[in-house]
Amino acid sequence: MRRIYVKCIICPIGCDITVTLGENKVLSIEGNECPRGLEYARNEILNPRRYLMTVVRVRNGDLPVVSVKSSKPIPKKLIKRAMMEIAKIEVKAPIRIGDIIIKNLLGLDVNIIATREVKKIDKKSYS
């Protein structure tokens, strides 16, 4: 039996929640003031996930990288692998906001979407 302390970040109250874990399941969750906190704490312990924001290298663009975000949160333990996958990619300009840069990253049904516009230019000059 272990106890893990989680600080809830759903609302400004910031409840300090205590999660007691047994062999393979949650035995109890205490300290939350609302059901959202319960949900959050459970997810943080069992299946923590995060949105991913990073940049992807661009070829022939007015900037050498384009900012991207994941369409859905990704399991925390797969973030590093996701970053390494993304690092392999170089995408060609032009790019519009909303363009899918990587579809179905790591088979997770998560897309990597462009959040910035990139214009195409012919030679390397980032005035």
Binding site: G14, V55, D62, K69
Partner: protein, 421 residues
Amino acid sequence: MVVEKKYDLTIIGGGAAGLASAIRAGELNMDRIALIDSPPYVGKMLGGILPQCIHPGFGLHYFKEDLTGPEFAYRLIERLDKLDIDIFRDTYAYDMKATKDYCKIMTVNSSGITRILSRTVICATGARERNIFEIGVVGSRPAGIFTAGEAQALMDLFGVMPGRNIVIIGSGDIGLIMARRFALEGANVKAVIELMPWPGGLTRNVVQCLEDFNIPLLLSHIALRVLGKNRVEGIEIARVDESLKPIDGTEKIIKCDTIIVSAGIVPRIDLLEKVGALIDKTTNGPIVNDFLETSVPNIFAAGNVLVINDLVDYAAEQGEIAAESAAYIIHGGRIPHKNPIKIVLGKNVRLAVPQLLTGIRDTYIYIRVKKPMKNVYLYLNEIDIKIKLISIIPSELIRIFLRKEEISRIGNKILNISILG
């Protein structure tokens, strides 16, 4: 021959506040509007600092969506393009003078110098970052010292990895976000140093930027000096006592090759200084009334130049209020300047904007506290208003709304704002 142009409203700054005020001004049927923008890093790109802020948290109030910085900027720019506004891109306003009838702004770009005569002006020039000297860190001055914004631009605009072993000074949201950026891209963030006994940024960011990556947060620590000949080799830190003075014997050196200075941002008031606007020492920005008018009539301020905003939504909102005030003037309104109500800062209140109230309108008041507290009341003395606040921290600006009727209850031209436990 210097070109001269006349406008009813000139907005200086194309960041969130400037863009929002331009859009609002366009909607309010003002005829001749100009927007002057000199982008920080990339020529001709509007949006101020937003294009490099690739994380979400923008627009929760304004668009009711959680957008990244560039997406937020894009929404505003899209709306701006539909309006009939003279946009001076990649143009720098280097001087400003106020006369009775108009404000004279000298601007320069690659086409030449343009003298702008404008009946009203909104100064939305934003803020600049504190550098390492302003926080008193001594030692050598090698390469590898960047402000958080510089590092962010290097990485997320120019695709450059600034270093391998990183130490970040300051745990405000910008510093925390940069910690995550470095860690995600595979660099080694060795520590975030924070002077106060509490983190500077939101809990959400402490969890998702530091704890997620096992980055140590050293509270109550001060950065003393930089080591390194040509490139940073380390930074000496020490623990501090309650009066924030370093404790002898606690000094230690963290080896690193890159130091990120995230010690807060300061309003860029150069033009306001030139025109003689009175500056508030607590905000480092101009003193304004509830129309967001500075002490120089017809010159307004909005966004980070007015007060450091942690939410871009507030910066945009201030831009809109300033635009509405400018429109009010253009359409014949008069803003009273005599005998304003002065806001007085009480217990645990570091700053409040606006600093003066005319009393003839509703207004937002933006407040920042000194110390974090839980379960307190924001108390407005003279009108006996108590607002319950569950959790207050210095890095989160509090925003309250006062109606004209409530303000009219103030008798003696003073409004005391304080935090009660």
